[in-house]
């Protein structure tokens, strides 16, 4: 990405400069060329004017003033000026420089000079063609109409065509030098601008390079580092900040994951050590069968605890990964709660806990029966675990416009409000040592919360001054 960005920037700059230079060179070239040619043409025009002014026509005889004819310009061998004069279709005069050669005859309207590039002996020439009326003609005085007609006729007969040509090598040389100059200057400018652009782009992208270097140095086992590149340009600053935010979130997630894994390992170690030492001690010597039976049933109880924990963990993981599909069915809440309570009734009796299902008989709700009953069972299990002997557990439900609230309450809660705010955290316990006591591993309420969330609802927990602990499930009504 870095690489192509640099190339793209440099290429863009170079193309821009190239276009600018091309336009600039073309304009300069054409302006100077025009000026040079104009200058050349102006001298041709003046020569042609001198010549044309020197020509006299006397009764069909064409004369040229001698001093003009013998002007150095028309005599010299080196880059001479040529002229040729036609009267009607015959060549009237020729410059000495021309020898016996002919110039190409061309002309425009009367008295309008026309320019043309010619070649003589492969040398470039620039020529002017001029059609003119020579001096020295006496206009006869006749009546107007005749005069006009005769004028026209005479003009036809008496106009001369003059072509003056001059060696254009100097002009061509000047123009080709100009072209060379412009091309060389452009090439130099391109190379220079490439170097400057490369430097500027590299310099400009330095913060990006620095950030990339810092990112490359971040290892997944240490996400506490942040991108610290200072003097970051405004355009890159949001990228840096977003990356740092992302790193913070990643670090937090990794920490949570690590803590969770550590917690899981810790929670599994204690029962495992129980099983292991029970088996090892038993195997250390021969025992009678009743001893083996006791030990095996003890181990089985531990295994059951671990199994519950593992399946809870698995369910939490699946809920977190959205791997659990839900079905919807009409549920009679009273029946569902009674059904969930049944497995706990013996334990409640043992601790003289009174259970009351206060949900109105006809109350129904549309939700997933299996998952809702898992949530309720976990809530009741938790309630029994923490209710004082001789205490009470009761379940209520209320219908609201767009939701239904199921509340499980129990007496004998010793938690503070601050502690209650943690009850839905994984592996949280009011007393950390409860880890070892087996039945509860601090996953029940987290599982409840995740199930209810997956069902589209929410949970909350509260404790009152008299020790009544209530967990509420708020489920949406379809």
């Amino acid at each position: 990405m870095m690489y192509s960005l640099r190339i793209r920037l440099i290429t863009g700059v170079i193309i821009g400069i190239l276009l600018l230079l091309a336009v600039f060179s073309l304009v300069v070239y054409s302006v100077i060329r025009r000026a040079l040619i104009n200058q050349f043409d102006a001298s041709l025009v003046s020569t042609a004017q001198i010549l044309s002014a020197s020509v006299e026509l006397n009764d069909g005889e064409i004369d040229l003033e001698l001093d003009v004819e013998y002007m150095q310009e028309f005599q010299r061998k080196e880059r001479p000026t040529y002229y040729q004069l036609w009267h009607k279709d015959t060549v009237a005069l020729r410059s000495p420089s021309l020898g016996r050669d002919n110039l190409l005859r061309f002309e425009g309207p009367l008295d309008v000079p026309v320019f043309r590039a010619l070649q003589k002996n492969r040398q470039p020439l620039r020529a002017i063609g001029l059609k003119f009326e020579p001096r020295g003609v006496k206009k006869p005085e006749r009546d107007r109409d005749r005069k006009r007609n005769e004028d026209k006729q005479r003009a036809k007969q008496q106009t001369l065509t003059l072509v003056v040509a001059r060696d254009a090598r100097v002009l061509q040389g000047q123009l080709s030098f100009l072209r060379w100059l412009l091309l060389t200057a452009s090439a130099g400018a391109i190379i220079l601008s490439f170097l400057v652009a490369a430097f500027v782009v590299r310099h400009g992208l330095r913060p990006l390079t620095a950030i990339a270097g810092e990112i490359a140095a971040i290892r997944e086992n240490d996400l506490s580092t942040r991108i610290g590149t200072t003097s970051v340009p405004d355009e890159v600053l949001p990228i840096k900040n977003r990356l740092n935010d992302l790193l913070s979130r990643l670090e937090e997630a990794f920490k949570r994951e690590r803590r969770f894994t550590a917690d899981v390992a810790h929670e599994l170690r204690t029962p495992l050590s129980g099983i292991r030492s029970t088996i090892e001690v038993t195997l250390a010597r021969a025992r009678n069968s009743s001893e083996y039976q006791t030990v095996l049933s003890e181990c089985l109880a531990i295994v059951e605890t671990m199994q519950t924990m593992v399946s809870n963990l698995l369910m939490i993981a699946r809920l977190d990964a959205h791997q659990i599909t839900f079905r919807r069915a009409q549920i009679n809440l009273t029946e569902l709660v009674n059904c969930c309570w049944r497995p706990f009734s013996d334990r409640a009796l043992e601790h003289e806990i009174v259970f009351e299902n206060c949900i109105p008989l006809e109350m129904t709700c549309e939700s997933d029966p299996e998952n809702l009953s898992t949530a309720l069972s976990n809530l009741l299990d938790n309630a029994i675990e923490y209710t004082d002997n001789g205490g009470q557990i009761w379940v209520t439900a209320h219908h609201y416009d767009d939701s239904i609230e199921i509340a499980v309450a129990n007496t004998g809660c010793k938690l503070t409000s601050e502690q209650v705010s943690h009850v839905f955290d994984c592996f949280w316990r009011a007393d950390p040592s409860r880890t070892a006591t087996g039945i509860h591993c601090g996953l029940g309420l987290s599982l409840v919360q995740r199930i209810v969330r997956a069902l589209g609802g929410s949970t909350n927990a509260s404790v009152q001054a008299d020790g009544v602990f209530t967990v509420r499930l708020i489920l949406p009504v379809m």
Binding site: R269, T270, R276, V281, P432, S433, G438
Partner: protein, 224 residues
């Protein structure tokens, strides 16, 4: 040798107690931190096996208080916490060893034996007193070439005397290191066991190994 086990996870507590008793240790057990602290403060245990997460008072606080009061018992921390920080914290607070759950029971026993040897400045796991040999690892005893069969209690008594060989050991010391807290006290139970032990290890025609030190107790190996 007398141990205190402070562990609140019942299945582990139960099996460890059973295993340690069967290994010949006198074991006091509690699952409560407060109670454990009281036991540790009021008895001279050879080794205290301490869980860290306990109801009442947590393991590290117990350790801190014990060391603050100058109790010298060796402490072995037994916990599911396995991070480097936990281990360093435990050892730095004065623990002598650290074992992470789950562990092999054999390793726990070996570590306890190592701590005991350290307690009694005994590097060699095989103690020799004249022609009496005691293998502390296998708990076997020989007189000359002949192996002597001892009951666990007799072995515990001999081991304790052997650890402190050459010095007089009082009846109270013996009582405190051989018997658990719950045993009913009896003034002459130590003398009775010394009698049993003498019958098994003393040989006729050879000088006695266990000497009675008047008013001070017993001494193994040396006539004081």
């Amino acid at each position: 040798m007398r141990l205190l086990l402070i562990e609140d996870y019942l299945p582990l507590q139960k099996s460890l107690t059973k295993g340690l008793c069967e290994a010949g240790f006198a074991v006091d057990v509690t699952g409560d931190g407060q109670e454990g602290l009281w036991y540790a403060m009021n008895n001279d245990y050879d080794v205290i096996i301490l869980d860290l997460m306990l109801p009442g008072v947590d393991g590290l606080s117990i350790l801190k208080k014990l060391r603050a009061k100058g109790r010298q018992s060796h402490v072995l921390i037994l916990t599911a916490k396995d991070t480097l920080q936990d281990r360093v914290a435990g050892l730095d607070l004065g623990a002598d060893d650290y074992l992470v759950k789950p562990f092999a029971f054999e390793e726990l026993l070996a570590r306890i034996r190592a701590l005991l040897r350290r307690s009694y400045l005994q590097k060699n796991p095989r103690i020799k007193i004249k022609d009496l040999q005691i293998d502390l690892t296998t708990q076997r005893v020989w007189r000359g070439r002949e192996e002597i069969q001892l009951t666990p209690r007799e072995y515990a008594l001999l081991e304790y005397l052997a650890m402190r060989a050459g010095e007089p050991v009082s009846r109270t010391d013996i009582w405190e290191h051989i018997y658990e807290f719950k045993s009913t006290a009896s003034s002459n139970v130590v003398d009775v066991y010394i009698g049993y032990l003498r019958k098994k290890i003393e040989l006729t025609g050879k000088p006695p190994l266990i000497h009675t030190v008047r008013g001070r107790g017993y001494c193994l190996g040396v006539q004081l």
